[in-house]
Symmetry: D3
Subunit: 129 residues, 6 copies
Amino acid sequence: MPLTPIEHADASPEVRAVYDDIMATRNVPDVNNFWKMTAHHPATLARTWESLKEVMAPGALDPLVKEMIFVAVSVTNGCAYCIRSHEAAARKLGMTDAQFGELLAVVGMANETNRLAHGYQVELDERLK
Amino acid sequence: MPLTPIEHADASPEVRAVYDDIMATRNVPDVNNFWKMTAHHPATLARTWESLKEVMAPGALDPLVKEMIFVAVSVTNGCAYCIRSHEAAARKLGMTDAQFGELLAVVGMANETNRLAHGYQVELDERLK
Amino acid sequence: MPLTPIEHADASPEVRAVYDDIMATRNVPDVNNFWKMTAHHPATLARTWESLKEVMAPGALDPLVKEMIFVAVSVTNGCAYCIRSHEAAARKLGMTDAQFGELLAVVGMANETNRLAHGYQVELDERLK
Amino acid sequence: MPLTPIEHADASPEVRAVYDDIMATRNVPDVNNFWKMTAHHPATLARTWESLKEVMAPGALDPLVKEMIFVAVSVTNGCAYCIRSHEAAARKLGMTDAQFGELLAVVGMANETNRLAHGYQVELDERLK
Amino acid sequence: MPLTPIEHADASPEVRAVYDDIMATRNVPDVNNFWKMTAHHPATLARTWESLKEVMAPGALDPLVKEMIFVAVSVTNGCAYCIRSHEAAARKLGMTDAQFGELLAVVGMANETNRLAHGYQVELDERLK
Amino acid sequence: MPLTPIEHADASPEVRAVYDDIMATRNVPDVNNFWKMTAHHPATLARTWESLKEVMAPGALDPLVKEMIFVAVSVTNGCAYCIRSHEAAARKLGMTDAQFGELLAVVGMANETNRLAHGYQVELDERLK
């Protein structure tokens, strides 16, 4: 019997505190299933949220670029949930259809040329060492 | 006996034309080993260069963002050659150490949360359907 | 029209013999869909079952540790079927929620640091050579 | 020009504090290149070390099992640096040649059956839902 | 709200021209959802179709071998859509159940031995250099 | 201190018997490092050799096609050792430069379109169900 999402009403105070911080930080009325499932291991929930909050915050890169990088990785790994949730996050931050199209085009090309580089066992150029 | 890079002087006119276009487009005195190896299959060389030129051109996303997405995919796939060559391209376009650091931090986090999403078999939220 | 599972009643004597050994070894009343699908290539069915039986048997590592390693690989590869079936096998062998949580936390971290090592192109320390 | 490891003597106080904690926690005279490279982004260094320390600590799983899971992921992803460094960590915790052999055998089998499950597009058994 | 397939009737002339070429080339009454989705970025649709048409055409390798290689990659990456659509294409070109079974057996073995090679960090033999 | 290859002269009778069978079957004067490393776990050596011998034998697919599928998987996974050794095996069986070029072109395209299918979250067409 697989695990099921832990709703706010059923959560321990420790888990509920993380949920509350997610909702306040993102200004949303509920947290995603991702958090309701990682809540089965409260230490992972807390650590992952703290890390994500730090890593995805505005910095030298703006949040939209960060979300697009997140989508690029998720597409490469074939994680459907992650693609959908971070595509949604990127769109909320202003990603247009044209930008999404170019993002996927780059991801596709990179996955292709990565394999050409592997397949031909290309050696590092002197100027790149 | 593995294949070795095909230098400009030894290339067929068909291959040389692609090399010349790469050098002119990028304003560089020579092409990378990646192209000198794919040149073993001239159709792949020509097609890949035309595709890359189109996909990486300025558009709805700026070239630096595209190069960073390229690095994100290459890091996820563990392609050392691709990481080095596209990190170099991104730095040439202005990527700072701080931006590179944030890029890798996002790539790391995405690879982690992709697996938490898989491991907990998280189901898509209604609002994401 | 995709392939469908081959049930015991419809199986050839060769396939049925493997099913019977799986059921006897695992003390279960039926075999999983994994076996009913690989049965479309009886040599693969027989070889895979013999290999799995040998590899997952108690040895220098106990079966629960082996099942958790199996889950770790399946999560990294994003194989939903494999995650569910080997999570179930691990739970049957006594894996607790806390152990599953720690397992996924390690898998997540390893996937993250693997990419940091790739991204920074970390060179092997002298003491590790 | 790729980044080079940041040695203790050249590190900022912030980075040095993390190095010192790693050396004290692990009772080693120096930190690995992994840390000397992630130090190029001090926030990543600090966050990754804190996370790793928490995740790899003794808990519901013992540290050797955790290191073996780490190796399993790293082998699946083909991260040479990570394989070597975590194989070394596991051996330090007592992993024998026989255990390492069985670990890799399980990792190999899991990667094989993951693809058979994908290839035959196996559907989840009722009893696993 | 995720993107939905763009049907022929709703497509721009640019997209419709690609659809028409796909239908004519493959002699089919409609295009797959893959094309109806990539159509959201017409440049990607056109480039991908032109590339695929060139790469999958009869050449030094016959089309069936090419489709089986396509399936092998898709199974390794766990792309369900790609497995199903290229398995169907291979069967249309004559792939038998026995051939499909052997294909998946090779894909499984390769994924296993790839990890044994990684896990044991096997160095290249002199004769392969 | 990493493991080193086990030479024939230093091998146990059990390992030596496998080496002898590999040399006889392939008509070669020595075995590859892959076998000399897996020999550290004799059961893995024996099982992997028996499996590989069975899977790669002539059958419904000819050995060259099987070797090319092996290369396709190894390129996708980025296993340098596996690419080199199976490229060599394929060339020994007659693979030409043109065939190798087309093989890599297909592998590249498949890795690209796999990600476009993931990125657009393409749903299975009715006719493929």
